[in-house]
């Protein structure tokens, strides 16, 4: 065995390019999935069965099948229905659907952590439902929601590696392209692993900051 980490000098532009796509993909999924997840969270505890039941079924299905399969469902399933997407948007769409239900559970837990009297108090003041949610309820869920939200965000980051299966040129895909040509899989994968670890570390640092913030806010709002 002879390792040659000098190879990095040659391959780093490709890996950097891949890292940028990974970051874009992660951010795109977070931006799309987060508001959707709030709707899912509200809808899953809705009083209307027509809203609640389909969401429960979709949640059970999406949480019971591999994320890779969800990706293939979007990638292979949409074109015959007349919706042909490029690899990047199909990956965003698939992961958004998948994560909306995972984040949805996080937000649901957060909503349930708000005392029901808060809803009643807002009703008593005559606030509109939408205003109650946005101004009264959601801000109060933040301390309970933020730490698990960020820890799920790392799942999004790691999950973007799947996009390699539908030829999105993200980091894992870039690494594979490179080591197939250079015959140096170990060295190239090590670099990719370090990049993932660094990105993960950034999210982790955010999580710790969020937990500290939540601990401060959480105690100060209680009585």
């Amino acid at each position: 065995m002879n390792l040659d980490f000098g190879i990095i000098a040659v391959v780093w532009p490709a890996l950097l390019q891949g890292s940028l796509v990974t970051i874009q993909l992660t951010l795109a999924v977070l931006v799309c999935a987060t508001p959707l997840a709030v709707l899912v969270a509200l809808g899953r505890d809705s009083r209307l069965p027509a809203v609640r039941l389909p969401l429960a079924v979709m949640s059970a299905i999406l949480r019971g099948i591999p994320p890779l399969l969800v990706l293939f469902i979007v990638f292979f399933g949409l074109p015959p229905a007349g919706l042909a997407l490029d690899p990047f948007p199909s990956a965003v769409l698939a992961m958004t659907c998948y994560m909306a239900f995972y984040f949805g559970e996080v937000f649901r837990g957060g909503l349930q952590s708000v005392p029901p009297d808060q809803w009643r108090a807002a009703d008593a003041l005559g606030l509109k439902r939408s205003r109650t949610v946005v101004r009264i309820i959601l801000p109060q869920t933040l301390p309970a929601v933020l730490p698990p939200y960020i820890s799920h965000a790392t799942e999004v980051l790691k999950g973007t590696a799947l996009a390699t299966a539908v030829a999105v040129p993200e980091l894992t895909s870039a690494a594979r392209q490179v080591f197939v040509v250079t015959f140096r899989p170990f060295e190239v994968l090590m670099v990719a692993a370090v990049i993932y670890a660094v990105l993960d570390g950034i999210l982790l640092a955010l999580q710790h900051a969020g937990e500290r913030w939540a601990a401060r806010t959480g105690t100060s709002t209680r009585y």
Binding site: G64, P66, L68, T164, R176, A192
Partner: protein, 228 residues
């Protein structure tokens, strides 16, 4: 719906399903004991055990599982270790899964009241005996629900093996689609089969929880109380 096409490809799909089941089973069977010892090592008073276990668990939970699979499939041959696709996928999935499971098991052990440890120590009960007789019987009911949740994630994760040339359920479905251009039939069948495995795990979970609840005499909600 083209049932006839489904029938043509059913043997291949069924084969892929069996590979997925086998892979899931082997991965869980191997990673559970490894995870158990990792969890114990992370609680050890000896830094020599604690540090490597902590690094292992944190590193492999930080990486995409696919990267770990690529290491096993593409990088090991560089060191003269050539594994079959199934072996490489197993190795990669076991390495990653044991890190995640270790964290769940550790959380269960940590949830046991520290007073139990003090009592066992004060009585002079040896570590392994206290673990077997006192800590584990209390930690297992706590660890079991997250363990099954993780097992379901691991089963879903075996689909990654299709990306390193294992002919599992996902791989066979994708192959059938690329030949027939009939995505819906095969995607639906694959999804249904994954749901079947995970539904079985969920049933197992509620059975186990019920058994534990019965054994510990807790009040069980739902139909179990009727059965009693």
């Amino acid at each position: 719906m083209r049932i006839d096409l489904l029938m043509d490809y059913w043997p291949a799909i069924w084969n892929g399903f069996l590979i997925t089941v086998l892979l899931s089973f082997v991965v869980l069977a191997l990673s559970t004991p490894i995870a158990f010892f990792l969890a114990l090592a992370r609680q050890s008073q000896f830094a020599m055990l604690r540090w490597p276990a902590t690094v292992y668990v944190n590193v492999f939970r930080a990486l995409p599982v696919l990267i770990v699979l690529y290491f096993a499939f593409y990088a090991l041959p560089q060191f003269g270790m050539s594994l079959s696709a199934f072996q490489a996928a197993t190795a990669g999935l076991v390495i990653a899964s044991s890190a995640y499971l270790a964290e769940d098991i550790r959380a269960g052990l940590a949830a046991v009241d520290p007073g139990q440890r003090q009592a066992a120590t004060a009585l002079g009960i040896p570590y392994w005996r206290a673990l077997r007789r006192i800590y584990l019987p209390q930690a297992i009911p706590i660890s079991l629900p997250p363990y099954i949740t993780r097992a379901i994630i691991i089963v879903k994760g075996t689909a990654l093996a299709s990306l390193v040339a294992v002919n599992d359920l996902t791989a066979e479905a994708v192959r059938a689609i690329s030949i027939t251009y009939r995505p819906y039939e095969f995607l639906a069948v694959a999804a249904a089969l994954y749901l079947l495995i995970n539904a079985l795990l969920a049933v197992l979970q509620s059975l186990a929880e019920r058994r534990i609840a019965l054994k510990h005499g807790r009040v069980v909600a739902g139909p179990a109380t009727v059965v009693q």
